[in-house]
């Protein structure tokens, strides 16, 4: 049987509150604490609590079961504030010794696209968070939403990471199968573990889709598909919120998954690998090249989910134009706010893709429209700008990309 590597992304952003032009310079509260707490409590009840309980049962029952997580720093911080019992549930999983925590940016951010310095600092913050909460040091890197390129791999290799995760998309693989361990296009050949997006999305996206020809997906059917694979490792990467949030419990997602794990493990030689054990045990194949940035998002699997239109690019540029000033200001609260604004979700909400993908964006967005998301973000960045570089009292009002007003 092909070994299976499970990895779940667990993340909740600090969502913005409605913020308009007249709040600039007057109100420095950017985040909707009540809403963030309410949403975290809801997703904890629907997903985190029952899903971690399910994984703990499987870990206790089966020595061959293992799992890995990337827990974003935003999530860890919100768990501390709003849901310590969920944090305890992840710690209970960690105590089994068969759960790996991956490295990433502290703020599930787009920092890689904008600033190497900020990216480095955020990975260090995240490492410290994982060490503090779980007593382990992450070794394998997973960038925000599997954003990946040769350049990222080179950087990670230089930093001494043991490996990196990416999506198994055609621009990277060509005709090859994703179900092997590959190497990144670096001198040392950093181990590269690729998501089998077809089998991952069968669970994450299509499970409850009644128009899908394979609906309903049973554990037996899924087991047949997995048994038919011939590769070295099947990498199933998905949002943890798949369980109970994206796919409601009424769809039978929990029963399906647990039954499939049981069924799979009843096969001779079946076992789960963490990314680290996969990298240690499996033979690595050839180097794969990704000259352009890839991700696991939307149909396009590129950066268009966060940087596809001028609103999104403008917002990211404006934010990072304040990086140096924010750090030089010495204000801890300003820096914290800056980092929470680097989270990819804020840019995702600004996507104007019209069809298909747009519906997914709208599902996740707390805003009425991408334009609302952009305006709130830009006014907040304007306020941050005033905090870190106060305008001269007698000077004109400083504002991003002002309308060209003649003198």
């Amino acid at each position: 049987m092909i070994p299976v590597c499970l990895y779940f992304q667990v993340h909740q952003p600090y969502r913005l509150r409605p913020y308009n032009y007249f709040d600039v310079g007057r109100d420095h509260r950017y985040f909707d604490d009540d809403r963030n707490r309410a949403l975290l409590e809801r997703v904890a009840e629907k997903c985190y609590i029952p899903a971690t309980a399910m994984l703990l049962r499987l870990l206790e029952r089966h020595p061959a079961f293992a799992v890995s997580f990337s827990l974003s720093g935003c999530l860890l911080q919100q768990l501390r504030e709003f849901a310590p019992h969920v944090r305890a549930a992840f710690q209970a999983l960690a105590a089994t010794g068969r759960v790996e925590f991956l490295a990433e940016t502290s703020h599930h951010s787009l920092a890689w696209l904008a600033s190497r310095a900020e990216f480095t600092e955020q990975t260090a913050i995240h490492r410290a968070q994982i060490e503090e909460d779980f007593g382990v040091t992450p070794r394998v890197f997973r960038n925000t939403e599997l954003i990946y390129s040769d350049e990222l791999a080179l950087y990670l290799d230089e930093q001494g990471y043991a490996g990196v995760l990416a999506d198994g998309v055609e621009p990277l693989l060509g005709p090859r199968s994703p179900d092997h361990l590959y190497r990144a296009m670096t001198p040392r050949g950093l181990p590269l573990l690729l998501r089998d997006y077809r089998l991952s999305d069968d669970i994450a996206f299509r499970f409850s889709n009644r128009t899908w020809k394979e609906h309903p997906l049973t554990s037996e059917k899924y087991d047949r598909w997995v048994s038919a694979l011939t590769g070295d490792v099947l990498s199933l990467f998905m949002d943890f919120e798949t369980f109970g949030e994206h796919q409601w419990k009424e769809t039978g997602i929990f029963q399906f998954f647990e039954a499939w794990v049981e069924l799979y493990l009843s096969r001779p030689g079946a076992r789960f690998l963490t990314p680290s054990s996969a990298i240690e045990e499996l033979p690595a194949r050839e180097r794969l090249s990704a000259p352009r940035l890839l991700s696991w998002a939307d149909e396009a699997r590129d950066l268009s989910a966060w940087q596809g239109n001028e609103l999104q690019r403008d917002a990211l540029r404006r934010l990072f134009s304040l990086e140096e000033r924010t750090k030089a200001s010495g204000s801890e609260s300003a820096l914290q706010d800056f980092r929470r604004l680097t989270t990819s979700d804020h840019f995702y909400y600004m996507a104007t893709k019209s069809y298909g993908d747009g519906e997914v964006h709208a599902y996740f967005s707390p805003f009425d429209s991408p334009y609302e998301a952009y305006m709130a973000f830009m006014h907040i960045v304007s306020d941050l700008e005033r905090r870190v570089a106060p305008a001269r009292r007698d000077g004109p009002r400083s504002y991003p990309h002002p309308h060209p007003l003649p003198a």
């Binding site: 308009n20 609103l311 403008d314 104007t352 009002r397 991003p400 990309h401 007003l405």
Partner: protein
């Protein structure tokens, strides 16, 4: 079809919409008997083309064929879109003075009598003409539609462009709402210009959902819009349309006061006229922002087009807005649009900013956002223009044809 002339009374969407629909129907090859109230003295504007010999709208691209499909029947009448009792009395007086014209003194003594007189004329026309279905636009012609049905036995669709609940805060005029109720409850089908309006008709007049259909308004591309010579670069915010309680002019002025404090060079243009024009001007003076304001009065279409093209943002802060055709006009020029959340137009166009009409701080913030953030105004303008380009009166006409077929099937 009981419609309205285009353009002479282009102070509102009714004339534009009913004429657009006729053009769309002709394009599908449908024969139309168009019955219009013929006003003795429509407003004279150099650029206006009054309906005659089949030239229904500027969108007509096959005039000869259209002339063949279109039969025009005019009824001398003082009825015009959005007329009120007071305005009717003014017109009646003017007609009485206007002794040198076609005036014969046969108009009704008040608006209600004139509506009834028009309905009787409609019955006479219906007995003479051959047609399959009847289509009546807005309350002034509902009785005409009902009378035509009685005379011909053909099924009737009434087209709701607005309700008395939109026009007035207090439920409005009893004769208007009674006529409206009669029309929408007796008709075989009720066509509403938006889901928003369909909901009002369903809730206020208890019209069953299975008789309600939504056909959104549309707009047709014009060949050349002509760019206005822009003599100045000051940011320009536009309000255009009837200046009535329904359109929320006071919210526009309150928001303008907030915007003017932030951008001293901003200008606000108000194009149109109505019973709230004077109070609107008073409010501008009360805010002390009169130097930012330009009141153009009623503008002929070509000049209004230039204003749409020149404006940096178009604002429609209506209290109640069945559709909001002017938003499409602005977007056709690539001008970003801010509309009331409840406006019917936002059911068909996604690339607009929405506001709660009373939230002037939010409205002002959005005006400022469009003026300050170029990526925002570019996206709203270009994406909105693309969306508007996908709309056409022919598609709206096809939906009406489907309603006609339903009525004819039921008839057996």
């Amino acid at each position: 079809m009981f419609g309205w002339e285009f353009p002479p009374w282009v102070t509102g969407g009714l004339g534009v919409a009913s004429a657009g629909l006729v053009a769309g129907l002709l394009e599908t090859g449908t024969e139309v008997v168009l019955v219009l109230p013929h006003h003795p003295f429509p407003p004279k504007h150099p650029l206006l083309r009054i309906v005659d010999s089949g030239a229904v709208s500027a969108a007509a691209d096959k005039p000869h064929r259209k002339r063949f499909l279109l039969r025009l029947r005019r009824v001398p009448s003082l009825l015009r879109p959005y007329i009120t009792e007071a305005a009717y009395q003014e017109d009646l007086l003017a007609a009485a003075r206007d002794t040198g014209t076609t005036f014969r003194g046969h108009y009704g003594p008040d608006l209600a009598a004139e509506v009834l007189r028009y309905a009787e004329a409609a019955g006479r026309i219906a007995r003479r003409e051959r047609f399959d279905v009847i289509h009546a636009h807005d309350w002034l012609t509902y009785l005409a539609g009902l009378e035509a049905r009685r005379a011909s036995g053909r099924p009737l669709a009434v087209h709701v462009h607005a309700t008395e609940f939109d026009r007035s805060a207090s439920g409005g005029n009893a004769f208007v709402s009674d006529t409206e109720r009669l029309g929408v409850t007796r008709a075989d089908r009720v066509i509403a210009v938006s889901r928003y309006t369909a909901d009002i008709v369903s809730e206020r007049y208890s019209v069953p959902r299975d008789r309600l259909r939504v056909v959104h308004n549309a707009i047709d591309a014009r060949e050349s819009l002509g760019e206005w010579e822009v003599g100045e670069h000051d940011p320009l915010v536009l309000f255009a349309g009837r200046i009535t309680w329904q359109k929320g002019p006071q919210f526009f002025v309150d928001a303008a006061a907030l915007v003017a404090r932030e951008i001293p060079k901003v200008r606000f243009a108000v194009a149109g006229s109505g019973d709230r024009l004077r109070p609107m001007m008073d409010l501008v003076v009360a805010h002390g922002i009169e130097r930012h304001f330009l009141f153009t009065g009623f503008l002929p279409p070509a000049e209004l087009d230039r204003l749409y093209a020149r404006a940096d943002v178009y604002v429609l802060p209506s209290v109640s807005e069945p559709f909001g055709l002017t938003a499409l006009e602005a977007l056709r020029h690539g001008t970003p649009v801010i509309v009331s959340r409840n406006a019917g137009v936002s059911e068909v166009i996604r690339n607009v900013l929405r506001v709660d009409f009373g939230d002037t701080s939010d409205l002002a913030s959005k005006i400022l956002s469009v003026l300050l953030f170029h990526p925002l105004s570019d996206a709203l303008g270009s994406e909105g223009r693309i969306e508007v380009g996908r709309l056409s009166w022919k598609d709206a006409a096809e939906k009406c044809l489907e309603v006609y077929r339903e009525m004819l099937r039921e008839e057996g």
